[in-house]
């Protein structure tokens, strides 16, 4: 019974410091003698740099140094590397133009860093940066996907004419085309997945430190994966060996993907600290976050479903344009390919699928993973297309889903787009969600709303996603330039308390609690004697960090593996101490027992013997009780579920109010239900934000219009409903915990439920689909323009 105690809503260990203002975020860190960096960024989307005059800035009060791209180049600083290589349809590699840390020759998006001022105070650096004179020659900009692929479009990178990063596909086009030719019905939908700006509440920050005596560098940074940053920055950018570079990601105030990547500022402060031989700190102002944090989504797609006369899906054909922005961010190329197109089967048994994706450079901020990363785009496309199929065939939206679901007894299920789903029960999550949302009672609520002058609609999304990324050999064959295992070290101390060292990183997910709960349950050690250490490359073994809902599925599995080693060694020690055969030793509830006897030793007695090995099998066994494990997952995990949204539209203003939102998710085994519920609610809030409020807007010239929190609509408390969350579990079959992951399901499942509900509310206005965000203006215009086919009353 290794998992006793799991499943309790244990209150979080980390809350005490956060609630008392004692968190330790990067901007809270100040090093002796610290200087401040301010980065002068491009204020225009595309221009040749004819000259940079830093002389006045260099002489300004408090300024220690001013650096430009030329200084970095002269010091052999490399460009920011990309961690994933995609191949074109013809087998050739994607275009991978250089991504200089500070711009060289050209700026390619508003926010592109051009020069950095290092000064005694932040204000002095900022004042001086205004005195840098940059002589630009403006160039026309490719501001959007469609602009960038048009004939004669401006070229973002001279070495990539036509702006196509890659032209990739999956599936057999001829087979899919043949299925379409035989179809009784073809349903087609054009969709845009709106561009989002992540906006973790903590702006990015970085502090570089250089030890003159040892030659060691330390970088404190707002990262989800400090070892990845150390590897990328050390090996590719600054050429610092791992033993000379420590990266610390302390408390991090939200990430949502945006803090995965290796950013220019990390390299700038680290390099500059070595140059000026003093610590250098940079903290983003929010406006800088808007124009330098990687953005998310931004797809334009055409989707077609072929159906037979009974509404069975026969084939799916998709063409997608995906925006990469001006440069390739760390994982950007894999998002619209292996995290998107491989999910296009959804929860349906569509037998054949073809998808082609063109990734496009534009004069905008780089685009990379944002909560869900490819899977929200896939889910929005499939679920909106399924609704369109229902609309066009006259079938019920629930019925058409049920008819096409992969059956609960069909697992493992091989999809036509590479993935093999290990477990799931889509009818069960749908049934539970329909019940919890009182779907049966909806029409009465719609009628009641009419009486209040409101248009009420209901929307359903039945989604699947892939997380727990991922088997290293598989992702390697798909272009990943890294392994995607995770590490854990379980150190049982002499008196029996435990420290867990993990390569996963917590930036809100509550790992210090969930992981302690897991270790406490398996080793039988009280939770307050289990501490979790993460985020410091000087302390933790090499691990890949937290993204893609992988921390428990991959990082937790590594812990289980390390604990298995601890228990196996403990059994040998116990066998020696109790003069029994090791095969007769059982471990349960923190005790090693000789089977069938009352002889037992507590874990603390075993650990003490391990560290004070006076009576110990020293010839066969090393002292100590400290085990490390690396876990490489066997497959992705496949959380799935059903989200139902009920909304009301004010006819006069077009404002949407979310009246009810229910999520029933299958995230595998749940360790801490309170934390899972919080993760889902937060994800749903971001999904509702995407569906109703959020939109990154560039004007036709490439200027970012939504560049502050006054222009970009962040969801606030009064925009959101209570979010009801339940789980319906099937276990993951291939990791030792049976867990699947819960961090992204909310953001993946919810947008099509919201849009489906709005389209349902507007059904009498002849609306079949609305792109996100469904702003009041958009809806008001539909209501004004459309003639109801019949009075809703």
């Amino acid at each position: 019974m290794p998992f006793e105690g799991i499943g309790a809503s244990v209150r979080r260990k980390e809350d005490a410091r956060f609630l008392n203002g004692r968190g330790n975020y990067t901007d809270d860190i100040n090093r002796p003698g610290q200087l401040h960096a301010y980065i002068r960024r491009a204020d225009r989307p595309h221009a040749t740099i004819k000259g940079i005059d830093t002389s006045a800035a260099a002489k300004a009060p408090g300024v220690v140094a001013v650096f430009t791209g030329a200084d970095l180049a002269a010091d052999n600083v490399g460009g920011l590397p990309c961690g994933w290589q995609i191949h074109n349809k013809d087998g050739s590699p994607m275009a991978e133009p250089p991504h200089p840390v500070l711009a060289i020759g050209k700026v390619r998006h508003v926010g592109d860093p051009v020069a950095v001022v290092i000064a005694e105070t932040k204000q002095a650096a900022k004042d001086a940066a205004e005195q840098i004179v940059i002589d630009y020659q403006d160039l026309p900009a490719a501001a959007s996907l469609r602009d960038a692929i048009a004939a004669g479009a401006p070229t973002v990178h001279d070495e990539v004419p036509g702006n196509i990063c890659y032209d990739w596909h999956i599936g057999d086009k001829a087979v899919v085309d043949a299925a379409f030719a035989k179809a009784a019905k073809v349903v087609k939908l054009d969709l845009t997945n709106n561009r989002l700006i992540p906006n973790a509440m903590e702006p990015r920050a970085a502090v570089g430190d250089y030890d003159v005596n040892s030659g060691d560098f330390t970088l404190f940074t707002t990262s989800q994966n400090p070892h990845v940053i150390r590897l990328l920055m050390g090996a590719f950018v600054l050429h610092i060996p791992e033993n000379r570079l420590r990266v610390v990601a302390p408390d991090v105030g939200g990430g949502f993907g945006s803090k995965i990547y290796h950013y220019a500022e990390e390299a700038i402060v680290t390099w500059a600290a070595g140059k000026v031989r003093r610590p250098v700190k940079w903290t983003a102002e929010r406006t800088e976050s808007f124009m330098s944090d990687a953005h998310g989504r931004d797809h334009v797609s055409t989707a077609e479903m072929a159906l037979d006369a009974d509404g069975n899906f026969l084939a799916l054909r998709i063409s997608t344009l995906a925006n990469m922005g001006a440069y390739l961010s760390t994982f950007a190329p894999c998002i619209p390919t292996y995290l998107y197109a491989t999910l296009l089967a959804g929860v349906y048994k569509t037998p054949v699928i073809y998808c082609e994706v063109k990734a496009v450079f534009t004069n905008t901020v780089p685009v990379d993973a944002y909560r869900g990363a490819g899977r929200p785009e896939a889910t929005f496309l499939i679920e909106r297309l399924v609704d369109a199929c229902a609309h066009d065939t006259g079938m019920d939206r629930v019925a058409i889903r049920r008819k096409n679901f992969i059956a609960a007894d069909a697992f493992p299920y091989q999809t036509p787009v590479a993935l093999q789903y290990d477990s799931g029960n889509y009818q069960a999550t749908l049934d539970a969600c329909l019940k919890a949302a009182d779907h049966a009672g909806f029409e009465a609520r719609r009628s009641a709303a009419v009486g209040r002058g409101k248009l009420r609609g209901i929307g359903i999304s039945t989604y699947i996603e892939a997380c727990g990324i991922a088997p290293s050999a598989v992702v390697g064959s798909l272009g990943a330039r890294a392994g995607l295992y995770e590490c854990a070290e379980i150190r049982v101390h002499p008196t029996g308390s435990v420290t867990v060292f993990t390569g996963s990183h917590s930036h809100g997910q509550g790992h210090e609690t969930t992981f302690a709960q897991l270790v406490s349950a398996q080793l039988g050690v009280p939770m307050d004697q289990v501490d979790v250490v993460h985020g410091d490359t000087a302390k933790i073994p090499f691990g890949m960090g937290t993204y893609g809902s992988r921390s428990l599925a991959v990082g937790g599995s590594a812990m289980v593996k390390a604990m298995d080693k601890v228990i196996a060694k403990g059994k040998k020690i116990a066998a020696h101490l109790m003069e029994a055969s090791v095969d007769d030793i059982e471990f349960k509830d923190g005790k090693f027992t000789v089977a069938g006897t009352d002889k037992s030793k507590a874990l603390a007695e075993i650990s003490l013997a391990a560290y004070v090995p006076h009576n110990y099998p020293i010839e066969e066994l090393e002292p100590g009780l400290d085990e490390t494990a690396f876990y490489d997952p066997k497959n992705f995990t496949f959380p799935a579920g059903c989200h139902i949204a009920e909304i009301e539209i004010d006819r006069d203003t077009g404002v949407v109010e979310v009246m009810n939102f229910v999520a029933v998710d299958d995230v595998g085994r749940v360790i801490n239900p309170m934390i899972v519920e919080g993760q889902v609610q937060g994800g749903v809030a971001q999904g509702i934000g995407q569906a109703l409020l959020e939109n990154a807007v560039y004007d036709k010239d490439g200027q970012l219009l939504s560049g502050s929190m006054m222009d970009y609509t962040m969801p606030r408390a009064d925009n959101l409903p209570n979010i009801k969350v339940a789980t319906e579990t099937t276990l993951c079959t291939h990791n030792p915990l049976g867990v699947k992951g819960c961090g992204e399901v909310g953001a993946i499942g919810s947008p099509p439920a919201i849009i489906g509900a709005i389209v349902d509310a507007l059904k009498d206005y002849g609306v079949r689909h609305i792109d996100m965000p469904a702003s009041p203006q958009k809806i008001w215009s539909i209501i004004q323009a459309g003639q109801p086919r019949m009075a809703a009353e």
Binding site: R11, G253, Q681, V684, S708, I723
Partner: protein
């Protein structure tokens, strides 16, 4: 440089500041009270909310000089000397109303003012509207609303609802 004298969490400080120094900069950089956070440049996010003479204020939107002679309470000054949490802190913990913790100090300070200024009771709608000046990206607000509703009876000396 001008001087400002103020009381922070019960302790008096006299600090030299620039004319343009913001209250939040004084707290974070001069007094090392880093619990108060800066999340935006435009007075939108509320991560910097503190109490100035008992009323919530965005410390990123107030000059340090304007705080001369005031009594400021920050998140660090809420818990009792023996470590007992303020009821609002306790309810945030109990209801999992924080994840990454970055918005939490401002959120808690705003929530306390919201409860204090509604002695007659607080509806869910009032709570949601009362949080208009505070952004959270992690929780979806659901549990923050629950925590504030649960703190109201504790702060107004009423028995907590079951």
């Amino acid at each position: 440089m001008p001087q400002v004298t103020l009381t922070v969490n019960g302790k008096q400080h006299t600090v030299e500041v620039e004319n343009r120094t913001l209250l939040v900069e004084l707290l974070r950089e001069k007094l090392s009270l880093t619990g108060t956070h800066v999340g935006c440049d435009t007075s939108q996010c509320g991560a910097c909310v503190v109490h100035v003479d008992g009323v919530s204020a965005k410390s990123c939107t107030m000059l340090a000089l304007q705080a001369d002679g005031t009594a400021v309470i920050t998140i660090e000054g809420l818990a009792a000397a023996d470590g007992t949490l303020h009821p609002m802190q306790e309810m945030f913990r109990e209801h999992h109303a924080l994840q990454c913790g970055f918005c939490t100090p401002g959120m808690v300070m705003s929530a306390i003012d919201l409860v204090n200024s509604h002695p007659g009771g607080l509806t869910e709608k009032q709570i949601r509207e009362g949080l208009e000046g505070n952004l959270c990206r992690c929780t979806g607000y659901h549990n923050i609303v629950k925590a504030i509703a649960a703190a109201w009876p504790l702060m107004h000396g009423k028995a907590a609802a079951a």
